[in-house]
Symmetry: D2
Subunit: 192 residues, 4 copies
């Protein structure tokens, strides 16, 4: 539980959902995140990064596009960043990575010092673990601070959501809640 | 050296250059690859993947775009695939990864059984090593067969190319040659 | 199936079992490997590496211990190497890695050019995936050629073995068989 | 610089040196760490882990050896843990990993919540980067909190130490100092 002595604090979390598919298990997982988030945490999805062109460093000579700058500003102002993403070809989806690549070019780099939560769902048993460790390595460079535990890796996702898209097992619902609590706790630790 | 008893064989290699920047060190490195390639190896760059939109699996219901199908066909017909790429944020550039993600959706998946060479250049000391190990993990899923050695990681690239973009050190020129030779040798091993 | 035109060939596989615990799931998995191996494949476990002291490079001045040299020789003569191992702390068990470190100091380095199969069992859902990708990276340096597929990751192992230690699901039994077949096939490819 | 308002605090850091070789570059690097450490930081090396036998989980039935328990206790009491280690075969030295594996079996697990610094030296260009990312993944499981920056990767080590074993370049001396400062700062953040 979030410490009640910190109860007055409100947490502003921005989120990336790495899958664009409308019926995606990661979209379902994110909907569960919203439903399970504590009252003092607002979770806002960042959208539009999928429409950014492939990063060409020459383009930076013309300045960073406004949409990138605005999203970077939004991240910089937030208390924490949440990634809810599938694994594509054993790594981070390329489009999501391209979004991160663009955002990392804004100065000040928006992920610096930011606490980060990671989760994902997949139809296989491994539950996006491989994507998550690659993303953790990316965050070393970006100087983000990912929460260690719980690692929310929803494997065999076809059996883990009911007809309304709700997580059916208490295990994963508890994990989601704990990750959000630990995200808030870690945000407190890295608040200057 | 490529075994003269296989001298009659011609190797058709397709290449991805992961950086779009015109003056990129990886573009320079690729130009050196062309210059140093053996007479019986043709190296064709695959271009246009940077213009593909972010993969949305729902889009696949409308069929794979022709450009993706055509590139997949070109890869499937080749003897080997070469990646010459920078490292963005300690991993594979997002745009390049998005290209791979699209191509992996074509059936038959074009990287299956394909031998692969990997190289990269960076201004820092590490020379894209982190990108290369992530790409190797991607290739486990895609069932590609990356050459182990030499690992061409051109660090401190600003000092490694002359005014004409030629690699200045014998060390890296030899590495490039050896990687191409080993690519041909491994292509022979995996030829059915 | 192993191609009958290669039926005359016999495959000599040496194996490391990374867990020392007598009732270990990886020991059980290895026993299934022996039971399921094709008639023309002999699988010999390499033992004793767990008694080697921590590698101290100064010790090499006194020469490599006989037990290390003998095991390296045995590996060099084999057609393929199989690792059946748990995951300790999200990576390779230290003792097994110490064995590999010692063996890598023998000249010629015994893993060079050797084809490799990897499998593992764990009580959690991830089934040693993290260990396996670390081991694959080690094999880049050692110039081994790990089989890509199938990746045998027996998760939730407590439910996957019966009272006699037999794999209960057809899925994993088939995977074990396929990995051994692909190991033989890849050994053919890398045979000079 | 360490914030003077925290000047009264003293930091107790325990360190693992992953190489046993007397003339090791990592031993030299650790000697520089001691020399460059701030006045309010004591750095104590943990020794003897290299004499522990290969972890066999059956042995745990007899209880954890006293030396392991004592070292775990020492880690638990410390403010931070420092790893100074070579890279063996593109990963963590097996002996050091075996030490970590043993320590992770003590309850309470001593690395939980501990902030961690990582550095290493190698004769090649990559400077132990591959070992460091594997160790970072291990620390996710152990719930340690590695400092992101600077990543101290002393490549081409033969040129980086003088006859007395001192780091010759200001660049690396500054990096060592900064890593220790950031270790103290992060220890403050994770102090309950």
């Amino acid at each position: 539980m979030i410490d009640p002595t910190r109860g007055a604090r409100h947490y502003d979390v921005v989120a990336f959902v790495g899958s664009l598919r409308s019926g995606s298990y990661n979209r379902m997982l994110f909907n569960n995140v919203r439903r399970l988030s504590p009252a003092n945490m607002a979770i806002s999805e960042l959208t539009g990064w999928d429409e950014w062109q492939t990063l060409d460093v020459d383009l930076l000579n013309d300045g960073i596009p406004d949409a990138v700058t605005a999203m970077a500003q939004r991240i910089a102002e937030s208390d924490a960043v949440l990634f809810v993403s599938p694994e594509y070809n054993y790594s981070i989806p390329g489009g999501l990575k391209n979004g991160i690549d663009w955002l990392s070019r804004v100065s000040p780099q928006p992920f610096t010092g930011k606490v980060v939560g990671i989760m994902g769902a997949s139809t296989g048993a491994i539950g996006t673990a491989r994507m998550q460790y690659h993303l953790r390595q990316v965050l070393v460079f970006l100087d983000g601070h990912p929460v260690n535990k719980p690692e929310v890796m929803v494997g065999r996702a076809a059996k883990e959501f009911d007809g309304e898209g709700h997580l059916v097992s208490e295990f994963y619902r508890t994990q989601v809640t704990e990750l959000l609590e630990n995200l808030a706790r870690q945000a407190d630790r890295f608040k200057d």
